[in-house]
Amino acid sequence: MTGEIAAILAVDGIASGAIYLLIGLGLVLIFAVTRVIFVPFGDIAAFTALSLASLETGTRPGTVALVAGLAVLATLIECTALVRAGALSRLPRALLFYLVLPLLPAAAVWLVAGMALSMPVRIALSLALVLPIAPLLDRIVFRPIADASVLLLLTVAVALHFALSGMGLLFFGPEGVRTKPLVDAVFEVAGLIVNAQTLLIVVAAVVFSGLLFLVFEYTLLGKALRATAINRTGARLVGIRPATTGTIAYLLASLLAGISGVLIAPVTTIFYDSGFLIGLKAFVGAIIAGMTSYPGTALGSLLVGLLESYSSFWSSAYKEVVVFGILIPVLLWRSLSMAATDDEETEE
């Protein structure tokens, strides 16, 4: 391998690492606040890409029907629960949050699909359309078992993944899509040709992880999210509802996943089930950091991206094997070094 090839592979690896980074941060955020390892998280990215592609070709995205179905189901569940508890005064609020707000972007997309829209409008609509999916799934699937063990939550998340890929096939069909490039330029950096799209991916990853950091560090909302992650009972005792912070975590994380979906759509062909593998690789990045550290997840995701890029050069048939193969030494090292400091994890 010459130095030039190594550099090209590095640029490539950093770009895919940046995608895994955005998704990995979302995975860690959801896990920290809700204790759910949200397996179908990559699907959020893929569904954004598919919605964007539909809007580009002027067809109505399948996401509209998916969101509408989930919103109706979540509303029914929430309202039944409220009626049973005799809390009728909270019904209007429930209707607003579970029916009106999720359906607003869906209705907008349903109306304007087919019109000629500018690229920023298409992107904004796709993001807004996909945002409610994870919070609605949370209400339908995870809220009723919120106090269950992490293992049970994970098992349910795996089942949810299979259900969601089935729905993906139903709503989006089996065809792959690729969207128009967001930017069309080529730069030369130190004798190396760098695609503007690659640069955009890296810049977006830096900007949005920076924003996430600012939210955590300087806003009451971010601190409430961290407080829920650190001590759920403590959070409840100061009046923070874990269900609410959970919803916010799902929303923030979905935004990150949606953005990564918009970013990869022009460079990779996306199918209804492409999200799973992307999510799984982001998960490997997060696991390297023990699912707890945000900077660690960023580094882990970059490592996964680079590893994938170099291994596809040596032997592209084995690139997935190499990426998932590093899980074994990482888990061994984690379990050996965690054994001494296990007491944190034992409280439920």
């Binding site: 409430a224 650190i230 409840r236 100061v238 923070i240």
Partner: protein, 238 residues
């Protein structure tokens, strides 16, 4: 006067074991009420049920509201707070952030929060010195003060304190009880659960003695202190 907290025939069970059985007690506004009793008598369970963290049977009302209708967070919003035995602080956040989150239910009242924060720092100068430190680095006494300060940030009307003196050095225990007594002047009602029976009875107006999940004695704190049945078991005789 109507009771601020009224508990009637409360029973709390873990699976089939009843940790609290048929307990009734009430707190008038402005009162300090203490529940004393040995380890394992069900004191922490009683408070856990009252704040809504545990399932319970019986009747409980706070400020005239049926507590069956309120979840933990709704209790906090209405000024009914618990400082738990385990403190439940946010270890990876700073002292200042812990206090800030203590005022979460009043987040729209910025001026009021600032005033409460100054008040807490005035009451606990140690917290002010350590405001930038992570809560996990505090000593036992400081952690207790932070837990108390965090609860005060929500401007409670009824504060339940679970073993506030547990694991603290005698000098700090005295300090904690001094602070509890001083809270009375701000109009906060207090339900104090303690193993340190003498200090608790000296501070409280009314006392209850809890043994194996049931209330065996109750009365004015001053009377309980001279009740031979209580002195023999809890005050080491005298």
């Amino acid at each position: 006067m109507a009771a601020l907290l009224a508990i009637e025939n409360l029973t709390v069970a873990y699976d089939k074991v009843e940790a609290v059985r048929d307990v009734s007690l009430s707190i008038e506004p402005g009162q300090i009420v203490t529940v004393i009793g040995p380890n394992g008598a069900g004191k922490t369970t009683l408070l856990g049920a009252a704040i809504g963290l545990l399932r319970w049977r019986g009747r409980m009302s706070y400020d005239g509201l049926d507590l069956r209708r309120l979840d933990v967070e709704a209790r906090i919003e209405r000024g009914f707070c618990l400082v738990p035995e385990k403190r439940e602080l946010f270890g990876d956040l700073t002292v200042a952030d812990n206090l800030l989150l203590g005022g979460f239910t009043r987040r729209r009242d910025r001026a009021g929060l600032k005033q409460s924060l100054d008040d807490v720092y005035g009451r606990f100068p140690r917290l002010s010195e350590r405001r930038r430190q992570l809560a996990s680095t505090l000593s036992g006494g400081e952690r207790q003060m932070l837990a108390l300060g965090r609860a005060l940030m929500s401007r409670p009307r009824l504060l339940m304190l679970d073993e506030p003196s547990l694991g603290l050095a005698p000098l700090i225990v005295r300090e904690v009880f001094r602070i509890i007594a001083s809270l009375r002047e701000t109009g906060v009602s207090i339900l104090l659960v303690e193993q340190n029976a003498r200090a608790a009875l000296e501070t409280a107006d009314v006392g209850y003695v809890l043994e194996t999940g049931e209330i065996v004695h109750s009365g004015r704190a001053a009377d309980l202190m001279h009740d031979p049945r209580v002195t023999a078991s809890y005050l080491g005789g005298h």
